[in-house]
Symmetry: C2
Subunit: 674 residues, 2 copies
Amino acid sequence: MNQTQQALPTSFPPDFTAGYGQGNLALAQINTTPGDLAGNARKIMAALRLAEQQQVDLVIFPELALMGYPPRDVIVRHPFLVTENLKWLEGIAQNTGQTYALVGFVEPRLPKPSEKRIGKTAFNAAALLGEGKIQAIFRKSLIPGYNEFEDYRQFESSPVSGAIGQEWLTDVTLNPPLQGGQGLITVHGHRYAVSICEDLWNDPEFFEHPHYPHNPIEGLMAQGPQALINLSSSPSRSGKEAVRHQLCAHVAQKHGTPLVYINQVGTVDELAFDGGSRAYNAQGQLFSRAESFQEQLLIINPLKGQGRIAPLPGDQATETTDASASPCLQPPAFQAYDTADLARTYQSLLQGIRDYFAKTGFQKAVLGLSGGLDSAVVAVLVADALGPENLLTVSMPSAITPDENRRDAQAIAENLGCPWVEIPIGAITNAFTQEFGTVRTSLEAFWGPTDARSNAADNVQAISRATILRQLGNEFRALPVATSDKSEFYLGYATVNGDMSGALAPIGDVCKTKVRALARWLNEHRPATLKTPRNVLPASVITKPSGADLKRDPQTGVLVTAETELMPYEFADEVIWRLETLNQSHAQMLETPFSYEQQHPITPDQKVEWLNKFFDRMSKAVFKWFVAPPILITDGGGSIAKSDYHHPIVANRIRWQGHTPSEIQTLLTKSHDR
Amino acid sequence: MNQTQQALPTSFPPDFTAGYGQGNLALAQINTTPGDLAGNARKIMAALRLAEQQQVDLVIFPELALMGYPPRDVIVRHPFLVTENLKWLEGIAQNTGQTYALVGFVEPRLPKPSEKRIGKTAFNAAALLGEGKIQAIFRKSLIPGYNEFEDYRQFESSPVSGAIGQEWLTDVTLNPPLQGGQGLITVHGHRYAVSICEDLWNDPEFFEHPHYPHNPIEGLMAQGPQALINLSSSPSRSGKEAVRHQLCAHVAQKHGTPLVYINQVGTVDELAFDGGSRAYNAQGQLFSRAESFQEQLLIINPLKGQGRIAPLPGDQATETTDASASPCLQPPAFQAYDTADLARTYQSLLQGIRDYFAKTGFQKAVLGLSGGLDSAVVAVLVADALGPENLLTVSMPSAITPDENRRDAQAIAENLGCPWVEIPIGAITNAFTQEFGTVRTSLEAFWGPTDARSNAADNVQAISRATILRQLGNEFRALPVATSDKSEFYLGYATVNGDMSGALAPIGDVCKTKVRALARWLNEHRPATLKTPRNVLPASVITKPSGADLKRDPQTGVLVTAETELMPYEFADEVIWRLETLNQSHAQMLETPFSYEQQHPITPDQKVEWLNKFFDRMSKAVFKWFVAPPILITDGGGSIAKSDYHHPIVANRIRWQGHTPSEIQTLLTKSHDR
């Protein structure tokens, strides 16, 4: 056994009978990297050899396993990668024998000599490999282009589903499709239908608003396969597991046909793929499921309904395993802030940090530890992901930093077992202030007095800290990590080149109230094998009011907290939830009572003021979203991660409160008469 | 006349005859802002009133003029904006009389009560308004999703072209379509076909590889309109003008029908729309064209072939006005670096800077002026865009900054008439260095010696400068501007939070050799009304070798230039051109001689070394692209601007040199046997 094989844990059904023709399938839930053809191919070969040892009929890999998903525009600008991926596919095919393999790859669209190519240059495809050859290919029909998906930019929609012949794929040797009904494949005597990811996600009975007019599964199921196979690369988001489970159960039950769903694992920049590959019987009951957030080779038998069921992250009660094929759920009511799946959030963020560092080739991280909530939670996440010895925590106090915060920071580092140093920033910020002082007068003479509302002094502190971290990172080949959370990104309460800068923003899609809940969860639920598994965070870190510790109130001398400057985070986080999950307008939010209002009665004026402030700040925060580092997407409703949401920076004159028709008439007429 | 009207210059045909029924049309080439419904509607009303004064039959606005193009995902997450835009559309309609108006808007897709909505929530649509009512609507069929376009994220494709009735549009009062043949409209006795942007861009005779299987223009033309109208929001890129002209000429000539093409003007973040609205007669000859990069109301008569032709930017010989309908051009041979359209580049960047500041609500900019090429060119661009009094230039010398550079910087500021201050960074960088010194030993004891190749010292200088600029920006409500060029972005030769940071990267899509050509062009071609219109840049700024002035060679004490560290920019820029324009691979570049090689014979080993270095650095530079500020797109082949090109950061293990099939077999087998 080689290292790669050892790294892929294998799970067998309890009553497993080895041997070809039994209908045993292996789901190779692997973690690939876009563009790393050699690395991905090695993982594919290792899983294939494992499956062969068990005489499994067919080993199935996730969507685009060979190229890595999502390739994004890399394959458009660098078409040689598509040519290369065909060479690797052919190479893997030559190494197959009786164990067949379904391998996702990028199929170039090569028109016949007399034809024009219409549309994009590639299909999102999969190949059936076996007996040393490419036996058949399958193409994705439904090409998503919403939220984090952009297959539409690179892939043409296939007008046909199921196995197809060698049209256009002229560069590789391709045999006619196997026997077994048009569009089906027969492997060791059993007939399977094969579909790719989104093709499963358009059932018009399940979804209130299908994305596409056509449901490719219908045509495949009409041919009577013994099981439907779906190759996916389907990201994890809060609440997604319930929808995925219900959809799979619905499709299997509706067609009375077992469903085998294979999903990739691993994080690519902002997108977390959670694995959880699974199989359902003809009654829509789950009979096997792989681990979440781990590579695994799961062996199942859909004909016999055999396989093991791995638990979902955290408390199972929070993630449904009910096989009832109910239609897509309505969004749940707001609870500050969706704390139901903290175990999934933790694992998702851990994988995101680990994969980002591993895939970019870094082992070490540096982090500013203020003693506040956000940096404390990020420290735990990074230490758990990379190992505490690989995280350098740095306290960078200024003259106004409370002693309590410095003590808390040190306590967190000690609890984690991380190296910790203190670097005061006073001398640095003084140097900036002094240099500015030398030019202030001449500039004020020219440009008038400085902006009284300027945050320059606060920002220089935050940027100086980020500069120290970057300097340490450069010197020790470590990546600085950003600590801004989702509420701060929405409210623009983050400093460009300061606390929001870094190689990665692990909690940029976690709202403040959820960060707080996550902190409590971390104190209770981290693995017992870790140093200080319980109460790694001092209670004061969780309970103290959030603030950037950047300024004191000039009257009272008290440190200005974030909620004093902004609004209660519980209120702001509900605005975010209503925006992302319900797509509510300012007016709709004003009309419907907030959960916050049930606890804390506020006047209508107060609500209007906070809503106006939120929308105004959000309009101006869009620039910060644009220059933010990758944000690990984890929330269900939406995010401001760049691969998920696009908002022009100059679209900041939106009147969020709307206009009445009569106001509009007045404005239109006034503009003319003026 | 109000201010808005005065701001919209009007151009009439030489032999213009006013009066309804003459077939006079007004092309309202306006500059809109996404989401600014009130502002956009005011511009629409002002143009409508101007057109009414001339008794023009129909005034035509660009694609999505009311909502602003591109709205991106704002209308998906904030659907109330779509409802609002209908209210404004209705309001404008109520203000129309005999002068009809074609206004682009976002049409919500409202299924009938018994139906499900399938697909996206909106159409990219236009409405014919007149006599106080919405008379007809038109929907875009071809929905682009490549390069800078992402209509597919928000808009459903319309299965029909031409004028349609009130299906789904149930929220506004909509009359039946006007008479005049199915899908055509009749206005004051003349029949017109109406299409939106991309619907014009799929002629299978013109394009070698059409994007879509269907050409909506065929069906419209078959109905015999007297002219085809196209509402566009079509960005300017180098070489685009020639393609646009040839396509329009081809379509008009092929169908023997006049073509009226209206394009928006103005920049939205990274996308520059250049206007240049125009009309062709039935023989495919251009008979009218609006100004480029300026708002204008152009009055034409397509039935009589009447209108004025405004010049294109710069030397007309460089932009074809030939009416021959030749098919889409092959990419031109490389000339370092595509200097043919410097006048267009200048105007495009000027508009980009001006609109970014105006639309985000800023008047003033701050810029670090090093005395080097990039910051010098950016200074000229910003001063010309905002006025020299609104640009604060700052020299921030370190101990190693040559006196020549400080003198050059000051000379540029004086030539431009900009305020200029000098702020040395020595005290600041010393403070960083000293603080690092206090922890170095303890960290080295834990993590081993610092990275000998570390750029920490260089980066601290660059970040300190950017921090000073941000501090000044905060104090005086001014935006700092990034100075990194396209070659630097490709080679990762830019400091995160340093020279590449800022609110906007004006030359982030201009390669170094083109920046140099642009510098020479600026010295010759700026408007005579400016202070120092000729030779604003000292000759030494243009001829000195490029470098970041961040370090000296430890042996020689000479400042390290960029080309010493990297490779000649002429070579690197040709690699970029081959990547973006020809999509060549490493192997293809090795096989075909570079222009650079004709001038400077190099060994094959040298070429391999430079290519390897380029591709290696590019793989690691992707993170810098991700956190870069908006880049003004100007190059024809491609860019690394975020709205144009998506490349996963973790996709950095690509073996750009490829593998042979036998290498692949060895690697696959080795991975198994190991």
